[in-house]
Symmetry: C2
Subunit: 197 residues, 2 copies
DNA sequence: ATCATTTCTTATCCTACATCAATGTTACTG
DNA sequence: CAGTAACATTGATGTAGGATAAGAAATGAT
């Protein structure tokens, strides 16, 4: 129960067993079957999710109904709609399990509470936030101008493991291209001696 | 001296005159002539800038040398490379004055110091951060899939005033299209009875 | 004013990627 | 192990937007 979360916070944030005992009070955990949603478009996001095992995705849908994959979250990642949580507004994201996934539910007050109990957590949480911004910034940069192939290569570097676990149409959606285009990019890369794996 | 900044913090963040006196200690102000840089690609970003009057832009350059406009900052906006500041790493952004601009320099420690002196500031600063993330998220969403025209319309809504002040090639760069394309989009919109202004 | 430079538009052609449609794969499932 | 459903590849064709080039208009320096 919460073992993975505890180990992660200890290793990454330096949260001691004692600190963890306090800050984890009241946290719940659940296993979400493949395909199930943790957050639905239009609902206010009341929790951040920590992935202990499995894989989540967050996506939005545009007017034409097309899905845009905003983020993947494999083991040891946090996922939520920060804006919806913070501003208490309906989310335009859906969060869904790509594989059966074990998650820890972190309610809105969690980060603040935990920050009080544990300075290490406070620091780490701050770092997560800054990293989040950094990632978004980089993504904007790529989307502004980089061609499909470059975006794909960047993705491969960033999430090598996801290549095998996420279906290609989702990866395509993350990159902002069609599955067909992704298939062609991959073919092209293969021809020019490129070995992922 | 710092009048604009003071008024802004009072109105938006509810920072009292007394609080402002304390938190503004040591802040400096400068007027940057049109075309001058406040931060150069490769340098570590040591300040956030508050724009009292004028207009700044932040942009990156890709391998091919093409500029990508990351953000505009007109009056009463903050601009900086958060990641470079936080992680103390060389920035890949350049920050430059589009018009002659009066800015307040906020050093790395400022936000934390000011947060201690003023709880209102602390709250407001947190809100700015969350808003920043929200904006980035929205931008990613647009860039993933929305065609040039829609991006432009979105821009017009978001920054109506900038339409007149920023040259079109910069706006094009912000949208991730060429100035020629932007020109086409505008022509098309004009034909279909669209009146900005 | 005048000339130069920068910005904006327009026109032509071209390329990357989308769309559509068919065919191949896997992988469940009864 | 057939039968279907989900996913991936392939091919043919369309199109938004890029590249290039040239002129118009604005801006600015002398």
């Amino acid at each position: 129960m919460l073992d993975q979360f505890k180990a992660y916070l200890n290793e990454k944030a330096g949260v001691s067993a004692e600190e963890f005992r306090k800050l984890s009070a009241g946290l719940t955990e659940a296993t979400v079957p493949k395909g199930e949603s943790l957050l639905r478009e239009g609902d206010v996001c009341h929790h951040a999710f920590f992935v202990e095992a499995g894989l989540l995705r967050a996506f939005s849908r545009d007017e034409t109904g097309k899905e845009h994959l905003i983020q993947f979250a494999p083991e040891n990642w946090f996922l939520s709609d920060r804006s919806s949580m913070y501003f208490n507004t309906p989310s335009d994201l859906t969060i869904e399990a790509i594989e059966e996934t074990r998650v820890v539910f972190l309610d809105s007050g969690f980060a603040d509470r935990a920050s009080q109990y544990s300075p290490s957590f406070r620091k780490y949480n701050e770092k997560l936030l800054q990293t989040h911004i950094l990632q978004l910034q980089k993504r904007v940069n790529l989307l502004l101008g980089a061609p499909a192939e470059k975006r794909y290569l960047n993705f491969v570097n960033l999430y090598p493991d996801l290549l095998l676990r996420a279906p290609q149409w989702m990866i395509a959606s993350y990159l902002g291209i069609t599955p067909e285009s992704l298939s062609r990019v991959r073919k092209e890369l293969a021809k020019r001696n490129f070995r992922p794996l």
